[in-house]
Amino acid sequence: MENKIEKDVMNCSFCKEQIEKEVVFCSNCGHPENGTDKERAQFFAKRAMEKSKNIDAGEKIKSARNTLFVLCGIMIVYGFIYYYSTKSILDLGVNFFVALIYLALAFWSEKKPFIALLSGLLLYLTLIIISAIIDPTSIVKGILWKFLIISYIGKGLYSAFDLQKVKTVNPNL
C-alpha cells in the first residue's frame, strides 16, 4: 500500500507540494509539471504579472491608510474649530474620540488591511449620515472631497481583498 502511494505521488518542482505523478498541472500552485514549454512560459508570465499587480495593490493600500490618517487629522482640527465656536467640551471630546478610532483603524490596516479599511469606509459613511441628520445640507458640502476619500479607501479595500486572495493561493509570492 505504502509502495503504491510512493509510486503515484511526487513533489511539485516549483512549490514542493506533494502531487500525483501523472497530472499535467500542480493543483496547489498551477505549475505545468508535465506541460509543454509554452504552458511553462505562460505560467511564469502570469506570475510576473501578478507580482506587479501586488506592488500596485500595496500602493493603493498605502494611500488608503494615509487617507485614514488624514481623516484623523481633519477630525482633530474640526474638534478645535467647534470648541472655539461653541465652547463645548463634549464636541471636542467626540471629535477626538472619532479621530482616535480612525487612528486605531489606520494602524490596524498594517496588519489586517482588508477588514480595517472596510471598517474605516463604513465609519466614514456613518459619519456622513449622522451629519446629514444634524444638518441635511451637509450632505452636498464638499461632495467632491467625499467622493475622493471614498474612492481612495475603496480602492485600497478591494486591492487588500485581492491581495489576501492571492496570498492564500501562492504564499511565497
Binding site: I19, E20, V23, V24, F25, C26, S27, N28, C29, G30, P32, G35, E39, F43, I89, L90, G93, V94, F97, I101, K112, F114, I115, L118, S119, L121, L122, L123, L125, T126, I129, I130, A132, I133, L157, Y158, F161, D162, Q164, K165, V169
Partner: protein, 241 residues
C-alpha cells in the same frame, strides 16, 4: 467538492488549480464586499431617515409600528438571500446550565453598570438622558409598548442583522476574530450616539463571541433581551419613584 469551470473535472478536496487544464479554481468573492457595503449603507440610510420621520410625527404609535416593520422587512429581505445559512443559526445550542447562569448574571450586573455609568456621564456633561419608559406614556399601556419596542423587537432583528447576516458574510472574506471586532464596531456605530459607542462595542464583542462559540443566534438574542429588559425596568422604577 468543487468542479473546474473549464474542463468540468470534479475534485473531492479543495484545490487551487485544476490539475488537467491548469485553470485557477478560486471563487471570486469580491461581490460579497459589495453586498456587505450595500447592506450596511441601507441600514444607516434607513436609520437616518427614520430620525426625520420620528421628528415630524412625535408620539404617534402607528408611525413607530410602520418604521419598525420597514426595518424588519429590510433585515429579513437581505437575510432571505442567505436563508439556508440563516435558518441554521436558529438551532438550539447545547449549553452548560452553570455557564448560562454566569452569562446572565454578568449581563444583569453589566446592564446596571452601563445604566448608572451613562447617567453619571450625562450629568457630567449636563445632558438629560431620555427615559425610555416615559416616551411611551401617551399610550394606554406604556409598559407593554415599551417592552415590545425596547426589549423584544430590537434583540431579535439586530441580532439577525449583525450577528447573523453581516457576521456570516464577513467570515467568508476574513478571519473570525476580525469579524467579531468589525461587527461590534458597526453595531456600536448604528446606534448613532457617542456615549453608547463606548459601552456597546465591548457588549458587541461579547455577543459576537457567544454567536461564534455556540454557532447559534439564541444566546446573543437572550443576552441582548435581558440587557434591554434590565435597562427598561430601571427606567420604569426611576420614573415611578
Amino acid at each position: 467538492m468543487n468542479q473546474c469551470g473549464n474542463c468540468k473535472k470534479r475534485y473531492e478536496t479543495n484545490v487551487n488549480f485544476c490539475s488537467t487544464c491548469g485553470n485557477q479554481l478560486l471563487e471570486k468573492k469580491s461581490n460579497v464586499i459589495d453586498f456587505i457595503i450595500a447592506f450596511y449603507v441601507s441600514i444607516i440610510v434607513f436609520i437616518g431617515l427614520s430620525f426625520f420621520i420620528y421628528d415630524g410625527y412625535k408620539e404617534n404609535i402607528w408611525v413607530e409600528i410602520l418604521v419598525e416593520s420597514l426595518f424588519i422587512s429590510l433585515v429579513i429581505g437581505f437575510s432571505l438571500v442567505r436563508r439556508k445559512e440563516m435558518l441554521q443559526l436558529y438551532k438550539f445550542p447545547k449549553i452548560n446550565k452553570g455557564l448560562l447562569s454566569l452569562y446572565i448574571l454578568v449581563t444583569i450586573v453589566n446592564s446596571f453598570l452601563v445604566y448608572y455609568g451613562v447617567e453619571f456621564v450625562n450629568s457630567f456633561i449636563n445632558d438629560v438622558s431620555l427615559n425610555s419608559y416615559e416616551s411611551y406614556l401617551y399610550l394606554d399601556y406604556p409598559f407593554l409598548w415599551a417592552l415590545i419596542f425596547i426589549a423584544i423587537l430590537p434583540p431579535i432583528f439586530e441580532e439577525l442583522a449583525f450577528r447573523g447576516f453581516l457576521f456570516n458574510l464577513l467570515t467568508e472574506v476574513t478571519s473570525v476574530k476580525s469579524t467579531i471586532i468589525a461587527t461590534s464596531l458597526l453595531f456600536a456605530l448604528v446606534h448613532f450616539s457617542f456615549i453608547s459607542l463606548i459601552w456597546i462595542f465591548p457588549f458587541g464583542l461579547f455577543l459576537g463571541y457567544l454567536r461564534f462559540k455556540y454557532d447559534s443566534l439564541w444566546l446573543p438574542m437572550l443576552i441582548h433581551f435581558i440587557h434591554n429588559l434590565c435597562v427598561l425596568l430601571v427606567d420604569y422604577y426611576v420614573f415611578n419613584s
